[in-house]
Structures are given as structure tokens and as C-alpha cells.
Amino acid sequence: MSQQKPFIDIRHAKKSFGTLEVLKDISLQVERGQIVAIIGPSGSGKSTLLRAINDLDPLTGGEIWLEDKQINKSLPHRQYEKHINEVRQEIGMVFQHFNLFPHLRVRENVTLAPKMLKGLSDAEANALAEEQLTKVGMIERIDYYPSQLSGGQKQRVAIARALAMKPKVMLFDEATSALDPELVEEVNLVMKRLAEEHMTMIIVTHEMGFAESVCDRVLFMDQGVVVEEGPPEVIFRNPKNERTQNFLRKHLAGHKA
């Protein structure tokens, strides 16, 4: 059998802002349906790595591949824009601060991109919005404006908005960090449902318990490098590296305080 290419293949990713190196030669392979958590202290580069995958923060070196397509390939400006807009349709992203479109109702938040980019009719787009909003338990709020929703509800709509483009992979950038503690669970539940459907996911998170229960693999990043990676039970119960141990100890202490 020939060797299968990884679903997502990050090769020697480097990123610097001036003289500051944020990512120092990171490589990461993710298989289809795999769920990877990236943990680490702030400033470790974990969000930058995630944002590099859909080119929000372009790399300064290295390659990122999604299946047989190189995401950050070098092209003349116009062609690159066209290429990246196509690639981004296949990559869903969920932000810490939701970034729902406040001037649009929940329904239009979900239908905007499918209508513009996939040429869906109003009826098709509505059916799609209803399907996705049902999935995240937000169908009753379909005609609300984002300002009328709680943080947890906003984030669930943001997930539905991303899913409506039928992405191959979902990126979560600290999706629950901005939420009040009692609202975290409803978002985690939606993410768990996605995991059960074998959506490929890369999750930057501070929720160690969630990462442990949902993810197949955990990466611990610090100062722009992957310090340690492995299955959650190893990383959380039995980390080998001292920096990982220190981070987890501090993090757990912080949570108990």
C-alpha cells in the first residue's frame, strides 16, 4: 500500500514579526476525522499557528497542505486571492469573540456566505440555515439579532455559520475563553457533537478537561515550539517534559484558586 498523505500537513512552519520569532519550525500532521488540541501559555504561538492554517496570519516560512492542495503557495497577488478564498471555504473558523455580523439576523449570519459563494437560492439557503441552527440548538432564535443573544448562544450561531459552508476542517480559537463559566458547557456540547460526527478539528483551548475528554491528540506549545505531544491521557496524566509539567501544575492550581 502506498503511503497515505496526511489530511492536514504543516511542514516546518515559521513565523516572525520583525526579529520576534513566534513559530520556530513547527511540523504537524492531522488525519481526517482527528481532533487535535493545542494548549500552552499565552504567547506560545498556538493561536498564530491556528490562524496560519487559513492564512489569517501568513507564515514567513514553511508549507501548509490540506489534502493535495498547498494553502500558502506562492502566486501572483490576484491569483493568490482567488486561491485563498476557495481554500477558506473548506476551513471553518470559530473565534474567541464570536465575530457574528451584528447588522444581520441569526438566519442571515448563516446564509450570507453560502448564498454569495455557492449561489444557493433563498429557499436552499434557508433550509441550510435551519438545518445548521437546529444542530447547534439555536433554531428558536433564527430571527434574532446577535445583540439579543448570550455569549454561549452567539458562539453556537458562529459554529453554525462556519458549518454552513460544509468545511472539511474546523478551527477553534479559544472558543469558550470569553464566555461566562456557566455558558461554557453548551458550546462544549456542540463541539462534542461535532467530534462524534468525526469532523476534523483543531482546537486551541484552555479547557484541559474538555481537551482530555474530546481530543485524540494534544500538543503542548511554548515559545514557538511544540514541546510535547501525545494522546491526552499521557500529556495530562504523565507529561514527560518539565515545561509541560509546570504549565499544567500552574494551570490546575489557577483553576482551583
Binding site: 489569517l56 477558506r88 465575530n99 451584528p102 459563494l117 462556519a162 459552508m165
Partner: protein
């Protein structure tokens, strides 16, 4: 010579027709200045320098010279180079372009004030820069800037009196004509002031409704 308002009814039709012209010119110039303002703001912020600079010069000229002079130039001046525009069109163009520049400044500020996360969210869905601007950023920017734009539109209504000098029979000029045949300036100027004031009240009421609707979506 005392005041005699009894001359008014005889000339009321002329004055009201003038009011209609004032409304027409204000609405047309408002539409020009609104959409032109958005366009100019987007150009000023995002177009390549080569496109941007001519528009900057244009803005500077329109801001730095009197509106009255601009109207004279468009109506009386352009004829000499073969561009003969009707007075109404000259008025709409002059007023409209003058307020395009004011509105553009407001739109630019509000476009820049839209949260960066909004563009990021739109771009991650696959929208192009232009699509994100059109569907996500500009609508929010417009929404945020409606109250000051509304104030500009009220200023535009008042400045529309200036087009009387190029012969558009709007409210002020029709009052002058009525005065010309009755020699009753006080009566007609008071009448016309009252009509401007009423149009103003209506505009403010419309504006408040728009603001309330926008507020509901914030």
C-alpha cells in the same frame, strides 16, 4: 406700511411649487451625496495611490471653496467649455458633490471603526476583500454613522437655497418672485422660513425612525 398676510393665498401655489422643487433638489442631492460619500470613502481608504490622489485633490477643492462659487462654476462656467447643464442638474451636482466630501469623511471614520474581527470572520468564510467590505463592513459603518449623516442632510436642505442664484425656481427664488410683484418681503420670507422649518421637522422625524430601526439591530 403694516404687515398684510392676506396677499399670501394668491401666491401660495407659486411658493408651494417652489417647496416641491426644494424637496426634489434636496432628495436628489442627498442620494448623490450618500452613495457618492460611501464610494469616495472606500476609494480614499482602499484604492491604489494612483486612484486615490485625484480624489484627494477633488475633496480638497470642494471643501476649500465656497459652495456658491462651485454652483456658479458648474452652471455658468462649464458652458464655455461646451458643457451646458440645466440649472436643476447643476444644482443637484453642485450640492451633491459638496456634501459627498462631508459624508465621505464620516464614512471613512466609521469604516475604520468597524471591528477587525468582522473582516476576519467574513474572510474565513471565503468572502473576498471586496465582498467583505460590501456585505459586512460598509453596512455596519453606514448604520453607525446615520445620525451625523442626517445632520449633514439637514444642512443640505438649508444650503439648497443657494441654487436660487442659478435660477432654479425653488422655495427661496419663488418667494423672491412673489415679493417682486407684491413688495411684501417680510410676509413671504416668514412664510418660506416656516416651510423650510416644516420640511426640516419631517426630515428629522424620518431620521429618528431610521435610527430607532437601526437601534433594534444593535
Amino acid at each position: 406700511m403694516g404687515l398684510d398676510f392676506s396677499v399670501i393665498p394668491k401666491y401660495l401655489d407659486i411658493v408651494l411649487l417652489g417647496a416641491l422643487w426644494t424637496i426634489a433638489i434636496t432628495v436628489c442631492a442627498a442620494v448623490v451625496s450618500f452613495f457618492g460619500g460611501i464610494l469616495l470613502a472606500v476609494i480614499a481608504l482602499f484604492a491604489p495611490a494612483l486612484v486615490r490622489w485625484p480624489f484627494r485633490v477633488f475633496s480638497f477643492l470642494f471643501l476649500g471653496t465656497p459652495l456658491l462659487l462651485q454652483l456658479f462654476l458648474i452652471y455658468f462656467g462649464l458652458v464655455q467649455i461646451g458643457v451646458d447643464v440645466p440649472a436643476f442638474v447643476a444644482g443637484v451636482v453642485g450640492l451633491g458633490l459638496h456634501f459627498v466630501v462631508y459624508n465621505s469623511d464620516l464614512f471613512q471614520t466609521s469604516i475604520l471603526a468597524v471591528d477587525k474581527g468582522q473582516i476576519e470572520a467574513a474572510r474565513t468564510l471565503g468572502l473576498s476583500r471586496w465582498q467583505a467590505l460590501r456585505k459586512v463592513v460598509v453596512p455596519q459603518a453606514v448604520r453607525d454613522v446615520i445620525p451625523p449623516i442626517g445632520n449633514n442632510m439637514i444642512a443640505l436642505l438649508k444650503d439648497s437655497a443657494l441654487v436660487s442664484v442659478i435660477g432654479v425656481s425653488e422655495l427661496t427664488l419663488s418667494a423672491q418672485r412673489a415679493i417682486g410683484s407684491t413688495y411684501r418681503p417680510f410676509e413671504f420670507y416668514v412664510l418660506v422660513a416656516a416651510i423650510y422649518y416644516i420640511i426640516n421637522l419631517v426630515m428629522e422625524a424620518v431620521l429618528r425612525r431610521v435610527e430607532r430601526r437601526i437601534q433594534a439591530s444593535k
